[in-house]
């Protein structure tokens, strides 16, 4: 109980003094995860829309694989991206290993199946409702996908938020490809791991509380933005 109270105290001190260490790793956490969510959404949501409107041989298998990949172990992704970006790997020449770019890439691999699968679920339901109407109005497949993406925007925001929730709390992959380097690739989750291993439980708990607060704040902010856009239910 004492450590929890100490953790709350440490969190309060870090937040109210705007501790530079906390601010730096919090901003890096946000930048890495929001970038990964953005990239994964830009790929995953159109992919979900495409799978919703197209019927082709093997579609069911693709959907099953996509759903299965939602549970992709982050450490395996981290290892894969590490091998991809390591000096002897196919993308080693880019020199991205142990940079935030590598962390973003790893998170994109983790978030893409999640965002695409939730997006497919949302737009698949919409497609059942809209298919005949859109076909009747002679919408092209691209227009059909665009319509589903727009009409499903509230549900798709949930997909992006689920991706953000998974990304901001992720530690395995970014530890492997980022290396937890101070002032370079350290983020909230890797800092928590480090402080725990050092026995600084209060600080680790404080960072954990800040992480939770950050996740809740971003989620609430995105919901508020969506609501204030004045879209019709």
């Amino acid at each position: 109980m004492g450590e929890i109270l100490d953790g709350l105290g440490a969190a309060a001190v870090l937040v109210f003094t705007l501790d530079p260490y906390l601010v730096e790793i919090s901003l890096r956490s946000l930048a890495v995860t929001l970038s990964a969510v953005l990239v994964a959404s830009l790929i995953g949501l159109p992919l979900g829309a495409w799978l919703a409107v197209r019927d082709f041989c093997g579609r069911r298998a693709v959907v099953i694989v996509l759903n299965g990949l939602m549970g992709l172990p982050p450490v395996v992704v981290g290892l894969f991206v590490y091998l991809l970006l390591s000096r002897s790997g196919p993308l080693g020449v880019l020199g991205l290993l142990f940079t935030p770019w590598a962390m973003i890439l790893a998170q994109v691999f983790i978030l893409l199946p999640l965002i695409a699968s939730i997006g497919l679920q949302v737009m698949g339901d919409l497609w059942e409702e809209y298919a005949e109407m859109l076909t009747s109005l002679d919408a092209t497949p691209t227009q059909q996908m665009g319509t589903l993406l727009w009409e499903g925007r509230h549900g798709l925001l949930t997909a992006a938020l689920a991706g953000f929730g998974r990304g901001i709390g992720e530690v395995g992959a970014i530890m492997i490809v980022g290396g937890n380097i101070d002032h370079a690739t350290r983020v909230l989750t890797t800092a928590i791991t480090l402080e725990t291993s050092r026995g600084n439980f209060a600080l680790a708990l404080g960072l954990g509380l800040v992480l939770i607060a950050l996740a809740l704040t971003v989620t609430a902010a995105m919901h508020l933005i969506a609501r204030n856009r004045g879209t019709h239910p």
């Binding site: 009747s136 009409e151 239910p233």
Partner: protein
Amino acid sequence: MSRRAGSRGLLPLELRAAQAERAGKRVAGPVDLVIAGRGLTCVIGPNGAGKTSLLKMLHGLLPLSAGELRWQGAPEGLRARQGFVFQTPVMLRRSVLENLAYPLRLHGLGRTAARARAAHWLERVGLAALGEHPARGLSGGERQKLALARALVREPELLLLDEPCANLDGAATHAIEEILQAARREGTRIVMTTHDLGQARRLADEVLFVVHGKIHESGPAGRFFEAPRTGEARAFLNGEIVR
């Protein structure tokens, strides 16, 4: 399906020995039908007779398992020159005005022009005051008016309607019929299904009586209602159950 190139219009639209199946079971046909000229055709028949399937075959929404659908003009012009109103209209999660502008935007009209034309049609169907309201918040009658306006906004040559007044009250039905009469006067060819014989008597120039997915009897409405030729049609008009 096959099409003939040639004149710019869609009509005549023909079904030749056309059949359609769902899950291996025949739902309509074989049907031979020509939709041409002007006027309003009512498709009537008992529940489950295949009226909606016939309409969807004409619209290309229900693929033919046998026979063919032929029309004039460009191969891709079938649905572009038709409007379709579903029995339960689907509204986009947008305003009333945006729902109406949507088909115009799909076909390349700019936002301002599309909204202007949509606003004109909202006036015509009496929904101008609701332009900025969410379409999914409309009443049943208002939704059906909006669906009708959405089908008419691209000025189709052929308008297909599936039970457009089902579950509507008298006032809403009257309003829909007024819009249909106006469209007919302006030269839109109309084919609609209805279970309401009174409505068929009020509106139809021609009647198609459908039983078991086939056109059992067809002809001018006056003659059909005064002197039906088949026993099934007589029984149906007498309010008996036709099996």
